[in-house]
């Protein structure tokens, strides 16, 4: 069964460093998303991406964040200058329009 994959599974970085989280959505899906879940808190929407552009973003998704689909398969989330409060589980999801399928997540730890 096709699935969304994410790399790395765990990333540790120092405050102020740039990180890139990578996702490979399901191949025929058209809509792509990033969510995050701070430990013990709700899953929160960050951004949606369709037709090579952002279609919606939340207040969390400020100028430090960017997304890109550099080729036909990868979908990346970049955090330019990480802060301690960016420590969370980051989930990528994709869909053709109905239910969203989630990847296994990348745990980002900012020290």
């Amino acid at each position: 069964e096709p699935e969304v994959t994410q790399t790395p599974s765990h990333q540790v970085t120092q405050m102020g460093q740039e990180v890139i989280l990578r996702c490979v959505p399901i191949s025929n899906h058209l809509y792509f998303y990033w969510y995050r879940q701070i430990l013990g808190q709700k899953v929160e929407f960050l951004v949606s991406f369709y037709n090579n552009e952002i279609s919606e973003k939340s207040e969390i998704f400020d100028d430090q964040f960017s997304v890109e689909r550099p080729d036909g398969s990868n979908f990346t989330l970049k955090i330019r200058s990480t802060k301690l409060e960016d420590s969370a589980m980051y989930f990528c999801a994709s869909t053709v329009g109905d239910e969203q399928y989630f990847g296994p997540g990348t745990r980002l730890t900012v020290t």
């Binding site: 998303y33 279609s55 869909t95 239910e99």
Partner: protein, 114 residues
Amino acid sequence: EDKVVQSPLSLVVHEGDTVTLNCSYEVTNFRSLLWYKQEKKAPTFLFMLTSSGIEKKSGRLSSILDKKELFSILNITATQTGDSAIYLCAVDIEIKAAGNKLTFGGGTRVLVKP
């Protein structure tokens, strides 16, 4: 502001018991309501509900949506220890230009004891 609220926050039951989880919502541009199960990492999809009053069933799990009263319930009958997880309710909201986004509730943590 879009809001999804789940109750109870957590519950502990014994194998064989039935559990009922609640999800209420207040959102604009409702498309559907989804239930997910989260064990260790990623939420895994259980149900998508779009119409009121039609029960969706999968094995021991079932769910129903009430679009007038703005809530959904998820039932698990004859619970097993493998049902222990956090159950997430999410509302799919239509976005202006294209696509959609999910707004999640805080989840209900279910622990099933042998």
